[in-house]
Amino acid sequence: MTNGLTRFVLRRFTVAILFVVVVGSAALVLVRLAPGDPTDDLFMRGADAETIAAARHRLGLDQPIGSQLARWVAGLTRLDLGESSRFGLPVAGLVADRMRNTAELAGLALLVAAIVGLPLGVVTGTRPRSVVGRIVTIVSVALVCCPPIIGTLMLLFLAASTGWLSIAPGNFVVPTLALALPLAAMLERLQSQSMAEAFAAPDIVAAAARGVPVRRLIWIHAARQALRPVLGVAGIVVATLFSGSIAVETMTSWPGLGRLMLDALLSRDLFLVAGCALAGSSLVAMGNFLADLLRASVDPRVGQPS
């Protein structure tokens, strides 16, 4: 590894750590500042003031927000993310299980999206006016524009009305498709545009002039070159994947981090929200970091001084 690349990796790693801590802390502060707390339920059930005060004390809600944040950040060094008010269990354990589920779902969705989206992008980029190219473009644009919640509901409706796919909790097909399809469409659009640009590049024109067969020209030379800009936005792709996972996991009952975070938000489970935000941002940071490495491996200019 060159010095430039090492510096690049170290810089990215440090930024990733900072990003994760800032996101987790911000989540904690925002939830704490938001109206309502976990004792709301007790209040609406007519619990007396003493019971509510005892619950608030047990949950540390009677402490100043600054000291709560300081203790939480200090705990991070020991991987102690606090205790969930709802489950009465360490947040680290609760989050770890769900993080794995989300990572599995996201990984699978990314794989499906890449397998479907990138080749289709090559097809539409090289033959945009063909029937296949037009159809794929229309479907892609529709999928990109469709909010994850609507797309997921449509898939669920399709699965329920046809009986082709199970929508039982824990079944991975529907959630994977719900996450993968918009992502595949996004990749297809990006790859398609890059292909069009790659064809105008001098080296591709030269290769064509040398008589390189068209198929080889498209799938080896141009597609590879077109991949660079796509990898350039890999960070956005990863972020899209995880932000979409909240809606998808909730709608499809996938036991992942997004769903846990929504539950935690609804029950105002302060440390669990912060823990989920920390874990989610870790996944995003990790994804971005890997994407940067991948980009650096295909583009020698990455990490070099401009």
Partner: protein
């Protein structure tokens, strides 16, 4: 040998008759066993929106934990949720002292917990000890105080306990329907060590838990499912002496999104949903009911209708410079300016009744049938508003107060409940027609509760789930000193004469044991309430529950858990064998 043709004909007719008889019998016995009762065996899948925070009902106050406790534990007595009658459970029979304070319960003998350890009076005493232990700080415990004081429990022998109430309490032992009896042998060490609040969390091994309920927990997969199996030691028998529960398995599958719940029921992947049918889903479920795939059960009229109340605390900021906001005539005017019929027909698609108070026909004998419903009369509403100084003084179509300021107020409502949001939109629109400007502010539920707790609001449109038909169990709402006296909570002394009178009547009503007198007192409470209308009610929807057609034995109740309160008697219809 030659068989006579007539004999062949006779045998053929006999075979035909026997076949028809056989198929006819099978048809009418669908879902019944050979003896004519419900069949045993099978599995019911329930979609459930929220996950438990703990398996310890004493420290976890949510509906999910309550449901689980009802499946894996038993109580001394149980309230039949369709009739309101108290029925024996762990207590076979009971007697009471003439003053109604001391109750002696004779417990069932020969019962064991699911782990085989015998159940005795010591478990009942232990359960009360855990309930009231100050170190546990049980939310359930605070709801099982009578007038702020604890019940006293004593074991008279291994199968007899006495419970002394601190003061006379009309709902009596129905209160015990909420108290699951826990195994002392499993939890005593935790209680003695001050660790009871942490016992039986969701990571506890299922083998560590034991109960007296119809089911035992088999497996918990966070975020996915909670599987229950039949408790082989459950002691209850049905009317014909057959073992309960009928089902072998029951599974809660966590489905946090309500649309997904409906889709799963429609797809035949689930038998039951968390709670009642939403009105937006009613039409599609009625179609499925016609196809025989779903059964709709109407439990009756809701006992927890949506309500509109104003902040009547005289010290509230909202009242400063807007004294009219706390005037009775404002609420009477709104009550008459809004067409209840419109709400019933457009929001609830006709599946609701018009109401004028918190007690609906669903409350049965407590409902005052002769209480007049405020007539839809916008002209009368305008007159009433004029009587408190609200008139259109500048011709802009909006009413102004005596200083010429436009009369406007805001209504907070929790967002995400489409029925409530549509109702409040209708209120806003119809109240605008009489010149009142209303801003509807849909907020997160927590924000609404915070505004309520801080008294920082003009009006709120919300509902609270009721868990009992008996008004004596809802003193938190009626008494001015209580926190759920929403319009002016926790008053040191009643701020109005009519609230003082309601306090007096409800205190009397909840302590007298003369039922006819209780009904009379509560009728007076309802008349006083209607006279001042501190809370305006418009409509109470019918409670409709949907199950897959394969599920039998459903007795739908008005409050949660609407079906699973009686899970031990659910069964799978014989005709549905091939479905799952």
């Amino acid at each position: 040998m030659r068989i006579p043709r007539s004999l062949v004909l006779l045998l053929a007719v006999a075979a035909l008759v026997a076949s028809i008889g056989y198929f006819w019998r099978n048809r009418v016995d669908s879902g019944q066993n050979a003896k004519g009762g419900p069949r045993s065996g099978g599995k019911v899948v329930v979609t459930y929106r929220s996950e438990p925070g703990s398996f310890n009902r004493y420290v976890a106050p949510r509906v999910a934990e309550d449901l689980i406790a009802r499946l894996i534990h038993a109580t001394l007595v149980r309230v039949d949720r369709t009739t309101g009658q108290v029925e024996p459970r762990l207590a076979r029979e009971w007697s009471t002292s003439p003053d109604g304070l001391t109750w002696v319960f004779t417990l069932e003998k020969g019962i064991t917990f699911s782990d085989g350890v015998p159940f005795t009076a010591a478990d009942v005493v232990f359960s009360f000890r855990a309930l009231y232990d100050p170190a546990v700080k049980s939310a359930l415990g605070s709801s099982l105080l009578i007038g702020g004081e604890q019940m006293k429990v004593r074991a008279l022998d291994a199968h007899t306990v006495s419970i002394v109430l601190p003061k006379s309490y009309a709902p009596g032992i129905s209160l015990l329907d909420a108290l699951p009896i826990l195994p002392e042998h499993k939890l005593r060490a935790a209680l003695d060590a001050g660790a009871f609040a942490d016992a039986w969390g969701v990571t506890t091994a299922v083998s560590e838990m034991a109960g007296l309920g119809p089911f035992v927990i088999k497996e918990y997969r966070p975020g996915q499912r909670l599987a229950f199996g039949r408790n082989p030691r459950f002691w209850k028998r049905d009317e014909s002496g057959r073992v309960l529960p009928y089902l072998d398995e029951l599974e809660l599958q966590f489905t946090p999104e309500q649309n997904a719940e409906v889709l799963r029921l429609q797809a035949g992947e689930a038998d039951l949903m968390t709670d009642r049918v939403r009105f937006e889903d009613l039409a599609s479920l009625q179609d499925l009911a016609k196809q025989g795939r779903v059964t709709l059960h109407t439990a009756g009229v809701s006992i927890g209708p949506d309500m509109l109340w104003f902040n009547l605390d005289p010290a509230a900021k909202s009242a400063q410079g807007r004294a009219w906001l706390q005037h009775d005539e404002l609420r009477h005017a709104i009550s008459r300016a809004v067409s209840r019929t419109t709400i019933v027909n457009t929001v609830f698609l006709g599946e609701a009744v018009e109401i004028a108070g918190p007690i609906t026909p669903g409350h049965g004998e407590w409902f005052l049938r002769d209480l007049p419903l405020p007539a839809f009369d916008p002209a009368d509403a305008v007159r009433r508003l004029a009587s408190i100084g609200l008139k259109d003084r500048n011709g802009d179509g909006l009413l102004d107060d005596q200083r010429g300021k436009t009369a406007s107020f805001s209504i907070l409502t929790p967002k995400g409940n489409s029925i409530r949001e549509r109702s409040v939109d209708i209120i806003q629109e119809q109240v605008r027609k009489i010149g009142l400007k209303v801003d509807v502010v849909a907020l997160d539920g927590g924000a609404v509760r915070t505004a309520l707790g801080e008294g920082n609001y003009d009006a709120i449109y919300y509902a609270v789930e009721a868990d009992s038909l008996d008004p004596g169990r809802h003193l938190d709402f009626w008494l001015s000193s209580r926190p759920m006296h929403f319009w002016h909570p926790s008053q040191p002394t009643p701020s109005t004469t009519w609230e003082a009178r309601i306090d007096q009547l409800m205190t009397q009503q909840s302590t007298t044991v003369d039922h006819a007198e209780r009904l009379r007192l509560f009728a007076e409470v309802q008349r006083l309430f209607a006279e001042h209308e501190p809370v305006v009610y418009f409509a109470a929807p019918k409670v409709i529950v949907a199950t897959s057609a394969r599920v039998g034995g459903v007795k739908a109740a008005l409050f949660a858990p609407n079906v699973l309160w009686n899970a031990e008697k659910l069964f799978i219809q014989a005709s549905a064998d091939s479905r799952r």
